[in-house]
Amino acid sequence: MSANSVLVEVLLFAGAAEKVGKRSTSFQLEPGDTIENLQRVLGQQYPDLEPLLGISRWAVNSEFVDSSYSFRSDMQIALIPPVSGG
């Protein structure tokens, strides 16, 4: 963990929150880390989440982002499993 590492909170919803057992979880990330890195760490920590992770999207500050997105501080990060509103 470098001196510049950031604490990132990830919001969880629906089936993802159920698998993890809570509605958010935190990770220490390095500058330059991407969504892809975060997704790998999350899957290692919560193997039950893997099937859902593979078909979920990610949002940063209420906008969808792709997996190459790299983190800065002050971001609201959310795992968006396939939606089923309506």
Partner: protein, 166 residues
């Protein structure tokens, strides 16, 4: 009008909100909890649905979709209301209404809105079956009853492992 609410949806409020003197057509879609669902040979009975949202993002996305609908069609007014929490059989979970000068564009815009809401707005339903416990619904890509992406019939849950017994 864009709202996420906890109580019953009053459709009259939506229709009043979209009345417009330039418009001769209003189309409203209402989605409600289906009690009986055919699944292969069986018929499943739903006791209730429970909806949750990522509220902040859902409101932002709904606004973005409404703006896009107004660009693509001559939508003069719109109303989108989604209910959260418990929704019992025959109760409305979502209502989408638009007014346009002529009718074909009202049908197109309303259909596009509800199709897109069902794909891109962070709201989820948990289906509570009378006999089979509860499951969060997470349609795998390509398994959707609308023609938004692929025209395959029926929503399918991610996998059996997604089902939890109450």
């Amino acid at each position: 009008m864009i709202e996420l609410i906890e109580g019953p949806i009053e459709t009259g409020r939506l229709l009043a909100a979209i009345s417009d003197s330039r418009c001769g057509a209003q189309v409203m879609f209402v989605g409600s909890t289906r009690q009986w669902t055919a699944k292969g040979e069986k018929v499943l009975e739903t006791e209730r649905l429970e909806y949750e949202s990522y509220r902040e993002m859902a409101l932002k996305q709904l606004q973005a979709l409404a703006d896009k609908a107004c660009e693509r069609w001559p939508v003069k007014k719109y109303a989108i209301v989604h209910r959260l929490g418990k929704v019992m059989p025959e109760e409305a979970s979502v209502a989408v209404a638009v007014s346009t000068p002529h009718r074909s564009e009202a049908f197109e815009a309303a259909k596009w809105l509800i199709d897109t809401i069902k794909h891109d707005v962070p709201i989820w339903k948990q289906e509570h079956y009378v006999q089979n416990g509860a499951e969060w619904i997470h349609p795998s890509s390509g398994n959707c009853s609308c023609d938004h992406k692929k025209p395959v019939d029926g929503e399918v849950e991610v996998s059996g492992s997604e089902r939890t017994q109450l």
